[in-house]
């Protein structure tokens, strides 16, 4: 049973979509409950997985080889025999390691909260919940997939439900916002697709190739010696084209000896594109693909539009989880496969992070719409993820993952806070409200927690995350000399700015004398309902607990991060030497 837990995690919601589509109309009122039920089931499985996750066991840290992933599921999926081109194989591989485990937990938590928040949706409910469940399945799949093809499948598939959820259930301008979201992300994924094709054309699966060559009877019988032999044969060019099994496996793509000699993306190809080595260009393309999703300034403009138009629960999912796929993809794909590129471009990536932090914060300072402000604060916070990743230090990477988790929880809470106001009055202009604290005390309290958590007050998870990132980025110049110190120093300005816009918004909306621009809103403004409390309080508790006791999360990711950092630093440098030598 435990063998199929990950599959269950991905396909239960997709199955739920079918159930909702097929149920008769008389069940109209229970679609929401079914959705919450299925998402809670996901949360239970995810928590069970995290309880059993051996974060401290050295042999089960994932990253480098498939055997070290936990809860691994692997079976053959697509094998295309393409004649002289050889075989093309995509496997159904799911697994968990320190890069993905926190994201899985985050997804499960936020999806349940989002589902509860979706109860506000009153029109076309069947379609909404069906798409929502589809979305939860595909997001899970995206974090679990260890095969590029499978990953890409979920990555793209996610766009469609999101497009409809924003476009149909969104605000006035939703057609524009949803198509903008779709096109931006699709352009990003096109960059990724090109490199996926290129990698599949350059990388072989040594195990399947050994079976193809008759060196072993079946995949189970392939020993490390045989793999070694395949590598030697590959280098000497003894293997015929038509016997090569080309693979989409992300893990095989990380090993330089799996590259076909002289293939464009192999280390020895020496092929240049636009004046740089092809591998650097490839890294940049994958990176940009994910940077659009994260988003990084100047590729961020879809985000505020999408947030302002999206219904509350979709904003929650978008900010809480979807942005993290960008950061996760950078680590899992761009950095793991092209650590050389990561070194080569570290300076620019860090700069991009710093610009995002400052630009996002400055624009947030100038916005009048609460949701738009939170959206820009997301841009700013994702800049920390970039900075942490660029540093390639254990603290920096842990900080980046911590920040993704923490921001997932906090931004979910923030968009719910905005949603509470929007649900009552349909208006999110900050200037319309003043002194809400006397009218809605419980709301004010939770909003204060969320605002303070987001601005990085010690005691909340946001503070811990940003602290780790700063430590890592600052240390980087001593460890691997990738991020200059001045960038970290400039980035700390972001903290001041975010304190400024949050406190200012806080003061304008909640403090002072109770006053509304439009008096008719007065009777609509009621304090939080039980349902809203149920959504907001767990999030507040999580951010507090993680702020006080960060080890809960760090224990999960620490081992893998260590492996990842070592790999990216040493192997990355080796690759660069090999490329320059070629």
């Amino acid at each position: 049973m435990s063998q199929l837990l990950l599959t269950l995690l991905v396909f239960t919601p997709i199955f739920g979509t079918l159930v909702i589509l097929l149920l008769p109309n008389s069940f109209k009122d229970s679609f929401g409950k079914i959705t919450i039920g299925i998402n809670s089931f996901q949360l239970i499985i995810a928590s069970y997985l995290m309880m059993g996750y051996e974060g401290l066991s050295e042999k089960m840290n994932g990253i480098l080889s498939l055997d070290t992933f936990q809860y691994l599921e692997k079976s053959e999926w697509i094998v295309l025999n393409l004649g002289t081109f050889g075989r093309l194989s995509a496997d159904y591989t799911l697994g968990v390691d320190g890069l993905s485990n926190s994201m899985i937990l985050l997804t499960a938590i936020v999806m349940v909260i989002g589902a509860i928040s979706s109860l506000e949706i009153k029109t076309k409910r069947r379609g909404f919940y069906a798409l929502y469940l589809l979305l939860s399945g595909t997001i899970m799949g995206c974090f679990l997939a260890l095969d590029f093809f499978l990953f890409y499948l979920f990555f793209e598939f996610m766009l469609l439900p999101m497009y409809f959820l924003i476009g149909i259930w969104g605000g006035k301008n939703s057609e524009y916002a949803s198509i903008k979201f779709f096109i931006y992300t699709l352009v990003g994924s096109i960059f990724i697709l090109v490199i996926m094709i290129a990698l599949a054309a350059s990388v072989i699966d040594p195990i399947a190739t050994a079976v193809q060559l008759g060196l072993a009877e079946s995949i189970q019988q392939v020993t490390p010696d045989i793999i070694e032999k395949v590598h030697v044969m590959l280098v000497s060019g003894e293997i015929e084209q038509s016997n090569l099994v080309r693979t989409f496996s992300l893990v095989h793509m990380m090993d330089a000896s799996n590259y076909i000699p002289n293939a464009i993306l192999s280390l020895d190809s020496g092929a240049m594109l636009f004046g740089t080595h092809v591998r650097f260009v490839a890294f940049l393309m994958v990176f940009i693909g994910f940077a659009i999703k994260l988003p990084v300034v100047p590729l961020h403009t879809w985000l505020p539009d999408a947030h302002v138009e999206a219904p509350t629960s979709i904003s929650v999912v978008l900010a809480g989880i979807l942005l993290k796929i960008g950061g996760y993809g950078m680590l899992r794909i761009a950095y793991s496969i092209f650590p050389d590129g990561a070194h080569h471009f570290a300076w620019y990536i860090a700069l991009g992070g710093v610009i995002s932090i400052l630009y996002g914060a400055f624009v947030a300072l100038g916005t009048h719409n609460l949701k738009r402000m939170i959206a820009y604060s997301s841009v700013s916070h994702m800049g920390f993820v970039m900075l942490g990743i660029a540093s390639l230090t254990a603290e920096g990477i842990s900080g980046a993952i911590f920040q993704m988790f923490s921001h997932g929880i906090i931004s979910a809470a923030l968009f719910l806070i905005a949603g509470v106001l929007y649900y009552r009055t349909g208006n999110l202009e900050i200037e319309n409200y003043s002194g809400l604290s006397s009218k809605m005390p419980r709301y004010t309290m939770l909003a204060t927690i969320a605002f303070f958590a987001s601005l990085g007050l010690p005691g909340f998870s946001g503070f811990m995350a940003e602290l780790f990132v700063f430590l890592g980025a600052f240390n980087s110049s001593a460890v691997n000399n990738l991020v200059p110190r001045w960038m970290t120093i400039v980035a700390t300005l972001g903290l001041v700015l975010s304190a400024a816009y949050y406190l200012w918004a806080m003061q304008r909306i909640f403090l002072g004398k109770y006053h509304l621009k439009d008096e008719s809103m007065d009777e609509k403004l009621k304090d939080l309902t039980k349902r809203e409390l149920l959504m907001l309080s767990p999030l507040a508790v999580i951010t507090l607990v993680l702020g006080i006791y960060p080890k809960l999360l760090i224990n999960l990711i620490e081992g893998s991060v260590t492996v990842f950092v070592e790999f990216a630093n040493y192997v990355g440098l080796d690759y660069i030497k090999a490329i320059i030598g070629a």
Binding site: I78, F85, L88, I168, I183, I197
Partner: protein, 485 residues
């Protein structure tokens, strides 16, 4: 001389068993004419069923035939290989889908665009089918041009089949363009024949290389007639007009079947004559492909009618087919084959839908489908159409994605083989077009679900179940591509 003649005769006699499929279709065609003549003035819907069942038989026969060996038939004017067998099956499927389309559209008595003449329809469709069959096997110019004309002439008639003014105008337009395209092709063939004094493809290959500029010009002219059938640049002008005015069943048919034959012949022509290795031919294909994609996708953005939208989408897809022709390896053949299957199924699903909307609303205007998705009778139409559209865009988890993936992989292989940057640029432009196409393809599902329904709409529920099957086929072939390849 006598010896020679008898060996030729025996070759022809030996070839006949291999043409059982075509002979069978010809018999079916004659049968349809006879039934049509004998049982005059009666509802002859059963003709569709007869043709459909007959062709299913042919599909079964052909799929049992699948073998690896290459047979040279009829004095090597025809070639029967795996590739031609597989594509003849797909051609049959097109006509089967057509007869289902006609069957459903004639059941509905309230139909405003009802067509009479079941016999005529089936006769002409079977005629086109024989042309397509022969074209998939053609190995010399004369046979190719005959097959091309066999496909074209009934098409002109079918365009004007409604008998209204617009249809006749489109038919004349189609005829004039088609005639010119054929003339250009024949002109090119005459140039090549003049230079090589042979008309079979292998003979041309042995012509002194490097090819002279005149020879290349001839080859490009030869390809024009087939690019016309694909609807690619510069022979694309007829597409939107014909799509706008012809009966919807004919449009669906034109958008699929002729492309199969044309693609196969182009592929065979380029590979057998070794012209594909020529740089100028490569540039011709590259530019035709890229320009077709841009023209198609950019123009489609501004369309309000679904027929024209699909017309421009056809032009864009023709560009993709032409680009896939660049690589001569097996991977490209597989990619094309897979692409054609997926394209036929997705296109048919779209045209079934457009036809149904026209029957209900009397127009194919996009605004007319606003909110339709929420009506009860469209409960299955909506999801099925979304599946078809997503496949046309080329997003996972639908087969259209795998088709594009294979085509782009074959392009990458070209780059890998000869490090010419142009292939990468084309690859990028192709993918960029995917993003552009998103803007107009997504209009359809967006309009379907944007507002609430106004009034009552009765779409054919039985037909929608069939479309769902087509949609499921597209998902299944994504999950298990070996179903097709």
């Amino acid at each position: 001389m006598g010896q020679d003649l008898s060996s030729k005769l025996s070759n022809i006699v030996e070839s006949l068993p291999f043409l059982a499929s075509e002979v069978g279709i010809a018999a079916l065609l004659i049968g349809v004419i006879l039934i049509d003549l004998i049982f005059a003035k009666r509802n002859k819907k059963y003709l569709y069923a007869i043709v459909g069942i007959g062709l299913i038989g042919d599909v079964i026969y052909l799929s049992l035939l699948a073998e690896e060996s290459v047979n040279k038939l009829m004095l090597f004017t025809l070639v029967q290989d795996n590739w031609s067998i597989k594509l003849r099956i797909l051609s049959d499927v097109c006509v089967i889908l057509l007869s289902i389309h006609l069957y459903f559209n004639s059941t509905n008595e309230s139909s405003k665009t009802k067509l009479s003449g079941e016999g005529e329809w089936m006769t002409m469709a079977l005629g086109i089918l024989i042309g397509a069959h022969v074209l998939t096997m053609a190995n010399d110019f004369i046979v190719a041009i005959l097959a091309l004309e066999l496909m074209s002439l009934p098409s002109y008639l079918l365009t004007a089949f409604k008998g209204d003014k617009k249809g006749v105008e489109a038919s004349i337009k189609y005829f004039l363009f088609g005639a010119v395209a054929t003339a250009i092709t024949i002109y090119g063939m005459s140039i090549m024949y003049g230079l090589t004094s042979t008309i079979d493809l292998q003979g041309i290959a042995s012509y002194n290389q490097p090819f002279s500029p005149l020879f290349i010009t001839g080859a490009i002219l030869v390809m024009m007639g087939f690019v016309f059938k694909l609807g690619g640049f510069p022979m694309h002008i007829w597409v939107p007009d014909v799509y706008q005015a012809a009966p919807i069943e004919a449009v669906a048919f034109f958008s699929t079947l002729p492309k199969i034959g044309a693609t196969v012949f182009l592929y065979r022509f380029l590979v057998e004559t070794t012209l594909i290795e020529n740089t100028y031919i490569n540039y011709f294909l590259l530019s035709t492909g890229v320009i077709s994609m841009f023209i198609g996708n950019l123009a489609a953005i501004f369309q309000n009618g679904m027929r024209r939208l699909m017309g421009y989408s056809t032009i864009a897809n023709a560009g993709l087919i032409v680009i896939a022709l660049l690589n001569k390896d097996e991977i490209a053949a597989n990619a094309l084959f897979y692409f054609l299957w997926v394209y036929v199924i997705a296109n048919y699903a779209m045209f079934y839908f457009i036809g149904e909307i026209e029957k209900e609303k009397g127009t194919d205007d996009l605004k007319q489908i606003e909110g339709l998705g929420w009506s009860n009778s469209a409960a299955l139409w909506g999801p099925a159409v979304i599946l078809a559209i997503v496949s046309l865009i080329g997003l996972p988890p639908l087969a259209g994605f795998t088709a594009k993936l294979l085509i782009f992989t074959s392009l990458w292989e070209l780059y890998n083989a000869n490090s010419n940057l142009i292939y990468i640029i084309v690859l990028f432009l192709g993918l960029l077009n995917t993003a552009i196409s998103l803007v107009y393809y997504l209009k359809i599902p967006f309009f379907l679900y944007r507002r609430n329904v106004k009034g009552h709409i009765h779409l054919n529920i039985a037909l929608s179940r069939f479309i769902v099957i087509l949609g499921v086929f597209l998902v299944l072939t994504f999950l298990i591509p070996s179903l097709i390849i």
